[in-house]
Amino acid sequence: MARAVGIDLGTTFSLIARVNPATGKPECVPGPYGHPLCPSVVSLDPDGRIVVGEPARRRLLTQPERTVYSVKRLMGRGLEDVQEELARFPFRVDPDSHQVVRVLLGERAFTPPEISAFILREVKSWAEQAFGEPVDRAVITVPAYFNDAQRQATRDAGRLAGLEVLRLVNEPTAAALAYGLHRERRGRVAVYDFGGGTFDISILQLIAADQGDIYRVLSTCGDTHLGGDDIDARLLDLAREEIYRQWRMEVDRWPEALQELRRAVIAAKHALSEQPATTIRLLLPDGAAYARSLTRAEFEDLIRPIVERTIGPVRQALADAGLKPSEIDEVVLVGGSTRIPLVRRRVEELFGRPPHCELNPDEVVALGAAVQADILDAGVRDTLLLDVTPLSLGIETMGGVVARLIPRNSTIPASAQELFTTGVDYQTGIEIHVLQGERELARDCRSLARFRLPVPPLPAGMARVEVRFTIDANGILQVEARDLHTGEARSVEVQPSYGLTQEEIERMLEESIEFAEQDFTERQLIEARLEAETVLRATEKSLAEPEAGDLEADERARIDEAVRALREAMRGPDYRLIRARTDALNQATQGLAERLLNRALSQALAGKRVEET
């Protein structure tokens, strides 16, 4: 039987990992492109085929209206509370969405759990390809600060992908687990997890007990809508404004150009983690060239307010754990955004000690998830994770005030019971509104569920029904009720305010057969051929330009040979060979491509000079 896997279902990238049975060490599974990062991008081809990952990311440029990224931002959220996201991200939301948002890919609408399920299926297929056996059980990670609805949506995605979700594990906790294996470590650890779309801070205590290691979360805090995405959006705004000022051109009206620009600013962001300056380049639809040099200092000034937004949650988590920054023994950095030097400096300044970043910040969460999957599945009993609920749980009482039942940072599972009685004679039900959040009033908290508690028809105040609210080890609410007169359990149908019903999930599972997994190699072959065709077309176009005439004979011969070799590979079934030869052709035409770009740039500059004089 295949071992259970760990999956990091991320905003920008997703990864799958498992503990290697031979070495006992967790390893990420590389995908068909040779690395373990699967872009969390999903596209629906006009022929009805679902495309996920790297090929879908390329479709962001060619078919943006059929492609979606960062869908994690919409998980477990209603139409009215994603308005801010809709203003900042090019989500195409079905106007007919009810409580659960639906995203349009071309003409079809999908819920965020369905789209996430496509991503999960993709990485699952990577693992199945690598292990040569089916994968059906997984630990999936979630941001520690995810609420009940966001967790349920993630669990639904797992089920829609045909996975038994053994556990939802908080991302910073998973990272701590991966680090704990990496080296001997005891004491209090702060995990600062700044990813693509979410920020989490968790304070853990690592305890060596007779039975093994205990990873005990003392407190957690965060922001489920703060991440590298926000930094990209800031840079994008800057570039958009400058392009508008210079050329009166609204890039937003060209979705392809906007995606090119997004790719360019992300490349610039990455470059500035390594070097002191870079240039954002974009060829505009009318042939003008935007080239904007950006220094690290200017970049840091731009993003400082975003980085500062992580500090409040850090202070809150420390206060909740009853600790001062100096009482933290180790600081661990997780998530791609912690590669930014400003982030590292700020964390170091806050805690007064250099943070750890020995493990790849992109992989560490998936590695920890694999370790937890192994613990749960293989019955390893030498490690214990004690996690907490990030938000207080309460119910609405008279006047819209929230009565807190389970405080935030309670170790989970946790429960609380409330006794309910009737106020009116022969009343047959009591309305109960369950909320999550720290505010006093129900309207400021997150609605989890409303349900009607059935009670026996008795004179007012006679009925006595006890309701037990339990937050399970996944951080998900369960409700049970018991009639104290009869001792009978009463079933309670709790319909989540922003979730899918059981029936909806079943229906989606049936529908998903339509998108039944094509054979892994078949899919790779289709994608590899499509990519090859794109590159071949671009090459033909370049060779028709006047610059092609200036090519040295041997350079031209190399291009022709690369084209011939690629065409030959495309006739065969080996997707790896096609990819390798596509790369080779890209290499061979690089000099030509540069010459073409230089011409465009000098023309643009000449144009500008004419304008200025």
Binding site: I214, S415, A416
Partner: protein, 226 residues
């Protein structure tokens, strides 16, 4: 539910007697907790108020190893649901008994002196004058701030008042510790009447304490805004 027969409580799985054990001595299956399990019993602690925090934590961690739902992922549905119930109860017990104040509140609830979640506030009579003054100072500060000026004198008075009330809180905490020890002794020597008296005194101290804490919180909030 475990069935109660003439032999006492028996295991839901194998039918052997289990008594009050968490795991069946015969088949090892996890057993349901009683309907009104006492938090002290859940943690295996003596029913007393003066407890060593390290000892409470030790018990909590040792029991977590046994009861955490992670241990039952491959178990039957029944076992998983029992583990969830038991682990939640353990965590609830630890959360409640870990610190002295909620520990005292729990005992007061169990003894019928306080209703669950109830936090009555009672202005201590000997403090009435000081509270009155503090309220005046707070109002003064608010009106001064509306005019957009900082009044150093008013601020200083507020800080002094806050420090004074903080000191009161510490005194009350010491008083609670003392009463807690007294209660433990009275209970262990069977002096029920005296024990009841200590509980009533603790209840009163708690009411004052929450009143003063609210005051301090209000003042702190004002000072933070400045």
């Amino acid at each position: 539910m475990a069935e109660a027969t003439e032999q006492g409580v028996v295991c839901w799985h194998c039918g052997q007697p289990v008594g009050t054990e968490t795991f069946c001595p015969a088949c090892g299956k996890i057993q349901p907790a009683g309907p009104q399990a006492d938090y002290f019993a859940v943690l295996g602690l003596p029913r007393q108020l003066a407890l060593d925090p390290a000892a409470i934590e030790q018990r909590f961690l040792a029991l977590s190893w046994k009861l955490h739902p992670d241990n039952f992922v491959r178990g039957s549905e029944r076992e998983r649901s029992l583990a969830l119930e038991r682990a939640a109860l353990l965590n609830d017990a630890y959360r409640t008994l870990r610190d002295l104040v909620p520990r005292i509140e729990y005992v007061l609830e169990r003894e019928g002196l306080r209703r669950e979640g109830e936090a009555r506030q009672q202005a201590p009579p000997e403090l009435l004058e000081e509270v009155f003054e503090l309220n005046e100072t707070l109002e003064e500060l608010q009106s001064v701030r509306q005019q957009g000026v900082q009044d150093a004198v008013v601020l200083e008075r507020l800080r002094e008042a806050a420090a004074g009330f903080e000191q009161r809180l510490q005194e009350l905490d010491r008083r609670l510790q003392e009463l807690a020890r007294n209660w433990d002794e009275a209970v262990s020597s069977g002096a029920d009447q005296a024990a009841r008296g200590y509980l009533e005194q603790m209840n009163e101290v708690l009411n004052r304490r929450s009143y003063i804490r609210n005051l301090v919180a209000r003042v702190t909030a004002e000072l933070v805004e400045v």
